[in-house]
């Protein structure tokens, strides 16, 4: 085609010429504007949580707990005599933002430690970056377990840790037949594996399971399948607000009188507030922290929280996990006498422990997971829980078994039960 066929495009583009010059100018100005070099000698604490978007149910409290802990440490004289300074980014519940901000927070803000993430995928996105830059990283949420990396420390409970006590208790309480309702991704499938594992260990049996997409709102097929399988209790692992609808529909179909219902994550996002008293009463949950537990350090923690924020929304376990994480790190820095990563990691691997709101927690040197209490609680009619039993210092047995970062410091894996 000859050029004269294109006068139209030419005209359009000849206007672009001026435009592009303008863009270049704007770009140059903005590049200069953001190129500000910051230098100071404060200790920098990095924080990336989902403050907006679908996951902010957890992210906001995680961030609040971080600020509360940092203020608490600063009020008591800081770390190594220096005040802590928080550098915070909002990951907006988007995974790509974690990658982006982790690099920014390390390259630009030059943080000394990172507290970040809720979902396993966010942790997996950040893990290679903190590893490359050798920055201690704390992941504070309950999860399916198995992460193993020199720089990564986990203060939430792993699935096997919670399941081991919960399944044993439930089989004794209700009987051996178990039905599993779980979200259809890693957390659900791996948790289901542990249910099966501990069911066999304690003489139980999984009689059926349903894995649900996160967008399901209508649970009648699941409820139907549960009735066909006739279990003694249901292990329900609802994720996100939609899946709390399952508990309503489960109760409305009259199944709560016929069987027990237990969960390892019910309550971790304040689901008990959303669920109506009729549906929530009697649901059994197991986690490393509940606001209602009776521990010496819980009352002062709650008081501080109430003073800073409010207790209108109950404190979730992830908040306690972050609180513990910050204090354990601060303790390790004091022990090491420096914020140098290698020294801090070595201190963290020295069997360091901390008296948190959920009792004494101890960092396992090999697996970088916490040995901590697991509480079994039962939902009451006031959107809260009553503690039924406390299992003291439960070890993260699976992680301790597969992950030994003292012996194999180069391990960087996410183990699944298949690796056993």
């Amino acid at each position: 085609m000859t050029n004269r066929l294109m006068p139209n495009f030419e005209r359009v583009w000849s206007q672009n010429y001026k435009f592009v010059c303008l863009v270049m100018l704007a770009l140059a100005i903005s590049l200069v504007a953001v190129t500000q070099v910051r230098a100071d000698d404060e200790i920098k604490v990095g924080s990336i949580f989902d403050l907006t978007g679908g996951l902010n149910i957890y992210g906001i409290q995680q961030s609040q707990a971080l600020h509360l802990a940092v203020n608490n440490i600063n009020d008591n004289g800081g770390v190594l005599g220096q005040q802590l300074q928080v550098v915070e980014y909002d990951a907006q519940s988007e995974l790509a933002k974690f990658t982006q901000y982790t690099n920014t927070i390390i390259l630009r803000d030059q943080i000394d430690v990172l507290f970040a993430g809720l979902t396993s995928s966010s942790r997996e996105a950040m893990r290679p970056i903190v590893r490359k830059n050798n920055i201690p990283y704390f992941y504070s949420a309950l999860y399916e377990g198995g992460a193993c990396d020199k720089q990564t420390f986990i203060t939430g409970a792993s699935a096997s840790q919670q399941m081991s006590v919960l399944i044993e208790w439930a089989i004794k309480e209700y009987g051996p037949k178990i039905y599993i309702m779980a979200p259809d991704y890693n957390f659900g499938t791996i948790s289901a594996h542990w249910i099966d594992h501990y069911a066999k260990e304690y003489g139980g049996e999984v009689v059926g399971s349903d894995f649900l997409a996160l967008t399901v709102t209508d649970y009648s097929p699941t409820i139907q399948k549960i009735q066909a399988a006739k279990p003694d209790f249901v292990a329900a692992l609802p994720v996100g607000a939609n899946q709390t609808g399952f508990l309503e529909q489960f109760a409305a179909a009259g199944l709560k009188e016929k069987m027990g219902i237990v969960s390892t994550n019910y309550g971790s996002g304040n689901q008990q507030v959303v669920v109506s008293p009729d549906a929530g009463e009697g649901i059994v949950a197991s986690q490393e922290y509940f606001m209602w537990i009776d521990e010496p350090n819980n009352e002062p923690f709650k008081a501080k929280w109430e003073a800073a924020y409010s207790l209108d929304e109950p404190i979730i376990s992830e908040a306690a996990d972050v609180w513990n994480a910050v204090h354990i790190w601060a303790k390790a820095v004091e022990v090491a006498g420096t914020t140098d990563s290698d020294a801090v990691i070595a201190a963290l691997e020295s069997g360091i422990s901390f008296d948190g709101p959920n009792g004494t927690v101890t960092m396992q040197p090999g697996s970088h997971h916490l040995k901590q209490n697991i509480y079994i609680v039962r939902g009451n009619r006031t959107h809260g829980f009553d503690v039924i039993q406390t299992f003291e210092s439960v070890a993260p047995s699976f992680e301790d078994q597969v992950c030994d970062l003292i012996a194999n410091p180069d391990t960087a894996e996410h183990f699944t039960p298949a690796d056993l």
């Binding site: 906001i60 309503e248 009259g254 959303v274």
Partner: protein, 288 residues
């Protein structure tokens, strides 16, 4: 396979279809009578749910709260039409994107106003027993609601002067405006009607699905697919496609898992669109 299982399967799949229809008709009305796909439909449902919640919290009994929520959402929809949708007539994809923007704004506003968790009102604990199985009465009640809803909508669109003018306007815009139909006013009313239906859906489904800022997302995807697969004859088409898709999804989920149910739902939609490029009712003679 026992008889009681089959009976409950039938009833529960009917209730699935009913939930889908209740959540979809508002969208179908907007699409059918205005040609607008409202991506904020899910957030309108959420709006209705929170309005109901608010009403019950200040002491209004639940049945009245449903009416309150429907009206409030309808008014809100009317305002949205006047401020945004009106300026985008005939630009269907721009409308799509603007309403998506609206859905983000509504979502985040809900988070700001209500927080991320609010107490639900719960399903009435009453159920019927069929052999070994028990079913929630409320879910069965929803089947009745869906039937009545579709019936009254049919009446509204065929027997009232609004309905007749609205349908006339869609069938022949030029003639309609020539004989003095104020299409702008009709459109505002249609959008308000669609929004009101969304609000109603949020209100009536609230016991089964607690109000959360992102509750809309779970509904809308299937609602969009049902409406588009239904094609231009929205009411009849949506009832046909919506109930079929809802029931098939439920039945596959009963035999396999809900993920398989979802995938079958999606694949069925694709198949329908492959066979009927303009939706299943693309060549139907009836107009409603």
């Amino acid at each position: 396979m026992e008889l009681d299982f089959l009976a409950t399967l039938l009833l529960s799949s009917l209730s699935s279809a009913a939930i889908l229809l209740i959540a979809t008709v508002g969208l179908a009305v907007m699409f059918g009578l205005m040609g607008v796909i409202n991506l904020a439909h899910g957030e309108f449902i959420m709006f209705g749910a929170y309005a109901t919640l608010f009403a019950t919290q200040i002491g209004i009994p639940y049945p009245l709260a449903i009416i309150f929520a429907t009206i409030v959402t309808a008014i809100f929809g009317g305002i949205v039409e006047l401020l945004i949708i009106r300026r985008l007539y005939g630009r269907i994809f721009d409308t799509l994107l603007a309403t998506w923007g609206l859905s983000l704004v509504l979502y985040q506003s809900a988070v700001l106003i209500f927080g991320t968790v609010t107490p639900g009102i719960g399903l009435p604990i009453s159920n019927i027993q069929i052999g070994d199985y028990s079913l929630s009465v409320y879910l069965l009640f929803l089947i009745l609601v869906a039937v009545v809803l579709i019936g009254s909508l049919y009446w509204l669109l065929t027997k009232t002067s609004y309905g007749i003018t609205a349908r006339a306007a869609i069938q022949d815009r030029e003639t309609a405006s020539a004989v003095g139909v104020e299409s702008a006013r009709i459109n505002t009313m249609t959008f308000a009607l669609g929004s009101g239906l969304a609000g109603f859906a949020g209100a009536i489904l609230l016991p089964a699905i607690p109000a959360t800022p992102n509750m809309g997302f779970a509904f809308v995807i299937k609602a969009f697919l049902a409406v588009v697969a239904a094609g231009p004859v929205t009411l009849t088409g949506t009832v046909a496609v919506g109930s079929t898709l809802g029931m098939v999804g439920n039945i596959t989920a009963s035999f396999w898992t809900s993920v398989v149910g979802d995938i079958v739902f999606f694949l069925l939609t694709i198949t329908i669109l492959r066979i009927f490029p303009l939706g299943i009712s693309g060549r139907w003679r009836m107009k409603l």
